[in-house]
Subunit: 156 residues, 2 copies
DNA sequence: GATCAGATACTCGGATATAGTCTGTCCGAGTCCCCGCGG
DNA sequence: CCGCGGGGACTCGGACAGACTATATCCGAGTATCTGATC
């Protein structure tokens, strides 16, 4: 799992705190977390393409949340960053080589190993889909005030 | 997730079917699934180091299961292949940059984002730990007979 | 017949090569806003 | 006072380089079994 997930989630939470302040430029976000500006931009563009953020051009432009924090799940962010593919990829090796001889009848049924791994991944996804950016905000309420204060001091 | 997980699981199930036939050489396993022999060997060595397989040297040597299929979980195999590290790594970016100013009090508590991701990973691990090689065998009982038959034909 | 040396087949561990992905940087193009100039 | 045009700030999309990991191969060393020669 790339670090883009961590970056994206922190940025989403921060953008949620700063909703009233309008778009936040990529330069400020990079300074905020001390991250490489150009690469962070690339990752946030992926969130934009996924419809989680909106980017507004122009001198007062930047990134903002595209919808309410309650409607952005961790799953949304992870999928935008890492793609929809499962971590475990079944390449059907059971159908190859000397071991597969005379097993055609079994191949009608899905591979039991792939099914087992898929069950685990579904549990993971279900857990991610059950939590939203708003839940993360509720977990650290004192951060709201501090975030706005630090952001106001950041004119530059 | 590397393909070693898929290879390892299929090999474990096959070795479980072939327990009575003694150790299975890496050459036969590679032929069995049409996999690159040398690299498969390297991955199975990881399973051996993890105590899931045993390797016996000598002309009649090869790999065997180190314990009963009921006592080998999918989690064991995944950990042996991929390591114990979580997929999501929290690098504590909340403590860096301009956004962290004056937030020292919050840093006593664990990062909410890391905690949320960890919950999801625990659900994944729990699901993997709940399934064993024996469960996979029960899922495709007709494979037992076929596996032994194909293996017997494989003298060479 | 018993014992030992060599051959064989296999694993182990390390070294190395190759491919692909993740991370990071850079640049040209497009867009919006601000400001000043000219009517 | 109003409208037009230029410059600045920002995003977008793509191209590109470097680091790291997964994949794959190869080799030397060790070990157990078998064979055959020797006593």
């Amino acid at each position: 799992m790339g670090e883009g997930v961590e970056w994206g989630l922190h940025c989403c939470v921060t953008l949620a705190w700063l909703t009233d302040e309008g778009p936040v430029s990529i330069r400020k976000l990079a300074t905020w977390f001390d991250l490489p500006q150009e690469y962070l931009k690339k990752r946030l563009q992926a969130l934009t393409k996924a419809g989680i953020l909106t980017s507004t051009p122009g001198v007062r432009g930047g990134f903002s949340l595209a919808r309410a924090p309650e409607r952005i799940t961790l799953m949304d962010v992870v999928v935008a960053m890492e793609g929809t593919e499962d971590a475990f990829q079944c390449t059907e090796i059971r159908q190859r080589g000397a071991g597969a001889v005379g097993a055609d009848a079994e191949f009608g049924r899905p591979c039991g190993i792939a099914a087992a791994m898929r069950r685990a991944e579904l549990a993971w996804r279900r857990e991610l889909a059950a939590q939203t950016i708003a839940d993360l905000m509720a977990h650290a309420p004192s951060a709201a005030e501090r975030t706005r204060r630090n952001y106001a001091r950041m004119r530059g």
